[in-house]
């Protein structure tokens, strides 16, 4: 915390801080080398998009950023990943606290078999974010509003979250993730189950979140990446082929493979 403040003071206004910095990250699923020597900095107050063909390791890398891979027995991560300058794979780091700071929304919606309200209140409750019920209600409402689902569920907060449609479930999961008040939000194809209207609302949310947080989004939609992100990384076969400003990457890619991908020649 102090370090970050100091860093901000040092760099001054204008230059954006590095929120998450990774160096030489390799990930193995047993013998499967899924991520190969990836080094990539995620900036604060920025939306970073990961694009790339299916199975290239986008989700895997995303999951490394908040140590979700710890829950997979066969998964092994090497290399350095720093959050605000601190190694998140250090012994002293508690993954529980890390994940509170670095929230995640998964590719497939996974609401808990609880009421809609309880789904959203889950994070604030376990972390003790709010002192009383009124605050909790407020956090829940705010989160649901920002996830663009409030109007659809405000009359049935007590009904089970599993009873919502797929798209609604996904937005519920987004609301659940922002209710925990993370500093970084990782989103794995958050809009894949959403209609254009909801997608637009989520994109709006992402843009809004940028003012406070850093957002990383995995997407298969080139347009979406271009719309919402400032930075884009192109993954291919477990490597980051190209990482840079979204505009540059889409208009003037350096690598042949990137060009092929964004022009739809493969993937």
């Amino acid at each position: 915390m102090n370090m970050t403040n100091a860093a901000i003071a040092e760099k001054g206004v204008g230059a954006l801080d590095v929120k998450i910095s990774s160096k030489g990250v390799d990930v193995y699923y047993a013998d499967n080398h899924a991520i190969k020597n990836v080094s990539l900095d995620v900036l604060d107050h920025t939306v970073t998009a990961f694009i790339g063909p299916s199975g290239c390791g986008k989700s895997t890398f995303l999951r490394c950023l908040n140590r979700m891979n710890d829950t997979i027995d066969i998964c092994r991560v090497t290399g350095d990943i720093l959050l605000d300058g601190d190694d998140i794979y250090a012994k002293s780091v508690d993954p529980v606290q890390l994940r509170a700071k670095v929230g995640i929304v998964f590719q497939k919606p996974n609401p808990f078999p609880k009421s809609i309200y309880d789904n959203v209140a889950y994070g604030p409750k376990i972390h003790g974010l709010v002192a009383d019920k009124a605050d909790l209600d407020e956090v829940v409402e705010k989160s649901l509003r920002r996830a663009a689902i409030w109007n659809e569920v405000k009359d049935r907060l007590d009904s089970p979250g599993t009873g919502l449609s797929g798209g609604q479930q996904q937005r519920l999961c987004i609301a659940r993730a922002i209710a925990t008040a993370p500093q970084v939000l990782l989103m794995d194809e958050p809009c894949s189950a959403l209609d254009p209207i909801a997608t637009a609302q989520i994109e709006e949310l992402i843009d809004e979140l940028r003012s406070n947080y850093s957002v990383v989004i995995v997407t298969h939609s080139m347009q979406q990446a271009a719309r919402v992100s400032q930075k884009t990384a192109f993954f291919h076969l477990g490597e980051v082929v190209e990482y840079g400003d979204t505009n540059t990457l889409f208009t003037n890619p350096e690598d042949k493979r990137t060009q092929d991908y964004i022009t739809g020649r493969f993937g």
Binding site: M1, V96, Q97, K101, H127, G128, K142, I178, P182, Q183
Partner: protein
Amino acid sequence: MVSMTKLSGYHSSAASNARLKKRHAAEVRLKAYGIIAIALAGLALLALLWSIVGKATGALTEHYITLPVDLEAAEIDPDNIGKANFGGLTKDVLKEQFPMVTNRKSKKLLYDLVSSGAGFELRQDILDDPSLLGKQIEFDFLASDVADLYFKGTFGRLDGVETSGDLTLIADDKEIEVISSAPDFIAALEVVKAGLLDRARVLRRQAKLQDNGVQEFIRRADRAEDNATKEAALAQVATRETQRDGLLAQADELERRAAAEGGNEKIGRKEPSLLLKIGDGWIKMTEVTPNGGRGEEILPIGDITSVPAGGWLYYVADQPEVSRKVSDNQAVWLETLRDKDAVKKTLNWRFFSSGDSREPELAGLWGAIVGSFWTMLVTFSVAFPIGVLTAIYLEEFAPKTRFTDIIEVNINNLAAVPSIIFGLLGLSVFLGFFGMPRSAPLVGGLVLALMTLPTIIISSRAAIRAVPPSIKNAALGLGASKVQASFHHTLPLAMPGILTGTIIGMAQALGETAPLIMIGMVAFIVDIPGGITDSASVLPVQVFRWADFPERAFEARTALSICVLLVFLVLMNALAVFLRKRFERRW
């Protein structure tokens, strides 16, 4: 207003850290509960196996008493050996060893040292070799259960105490007074006094219970609403108080005696026995002082009036006579026989090779094992084909109709019907309606077959389902009929899985008891059953029956039977695991 940005700072705050500690503590607790649960389950398993194996070892050996038999003197008609009174002969042989045993009660105790089956074994030996008649032979008499347990130390030990004084013996008409020149008997007196303290403790505990009663009735009297109840309660209080005070007084008296120096204590059947050994003679003490006491002769000491130091010693039994099945007399006789090297310990093969008996030392397991075999044979030959055919039908042929649904639900529910209900079914249908013989492996096997049928069907269906349809379809494509495809292709491939399920079902059936009790397999059957319609018992039922017998020696035999049963179960399950591993195929 709650600011989300501010909230997100919380995750790095001290408050969050403190809370995190608590959250992790909760996690450690949950994990600890899990470990404790596993540990408790493991402990229960260990306790169970430990207590059973520990008890079973006692039945692994048996004892024989080798005694000379004068077959010349015994008047046995060589032409009619079978009719001769070998029981009487056995008794004579024992009497010869201890001629001083004359009164009827003692004689009975003496005869109890040797199994009632020993005479039959002697007869068998002579029938096998009639030339023995007219000879002097040494014969191994099977020790009775009580003698056997004594040799195994079940009834405690006799602890020898060395002495230092010269002993003077003064005989009057019934008893002998013994006086040592040194206070040799202090150790014995201490043991007796420790016994007194034990008894005092028991009395105090009883007094405490009475006192609880007193308090309770005082409370009731206070709460009583009418006079009658109150008076009844007060009367209870009074009687309980007297009882309590009586018990306390007795305890005080015992403790006083224990605390006093020296003294003269009587040794009854409730005190640890004190046995004096002089040469080959034994005296059982009935009174003890630091320097001697009084006692009665068990084995003759002759006309001796004094014994020099070192020529005598005494033994203290660590259990009082009442709490063991073997009397002091018997203990002395057995010790004497042991001193003469007439006692032999052998492996208890008899247990594994003979049928049931009411005499523990003669009882064996073979009848039950054979009975279990016949029963399992019936169970297998009924349940396996029917189970497999049903599974094939349900998986491959049955149309998806309501009727098939009913069969399925039915099978699932049958799997959970208590086994005793199957017993009732067997009782009323197989015994009552079909008039089949009681206690027969045929009926037992049928009942168990119905019981294991659901298990076999369910596992066979799973095995059949695991065979990929492509194989069957290939056969069908080559023009095979549905029946051919199922029986020639699917079934052989599913067989390992089916067999695994069947073995597990059979293992369950092998351990099943309750339904067999219902159909009369609890009867006492000595003979080894020769077929499925003979009366028979099975292993678990024999365990049940023996567990109920009062003879101490049956406890070890029951435990050993359980071990044998468990060994069979382990073998069967190992076979199932082996089959599963060996033929496990991933398609």
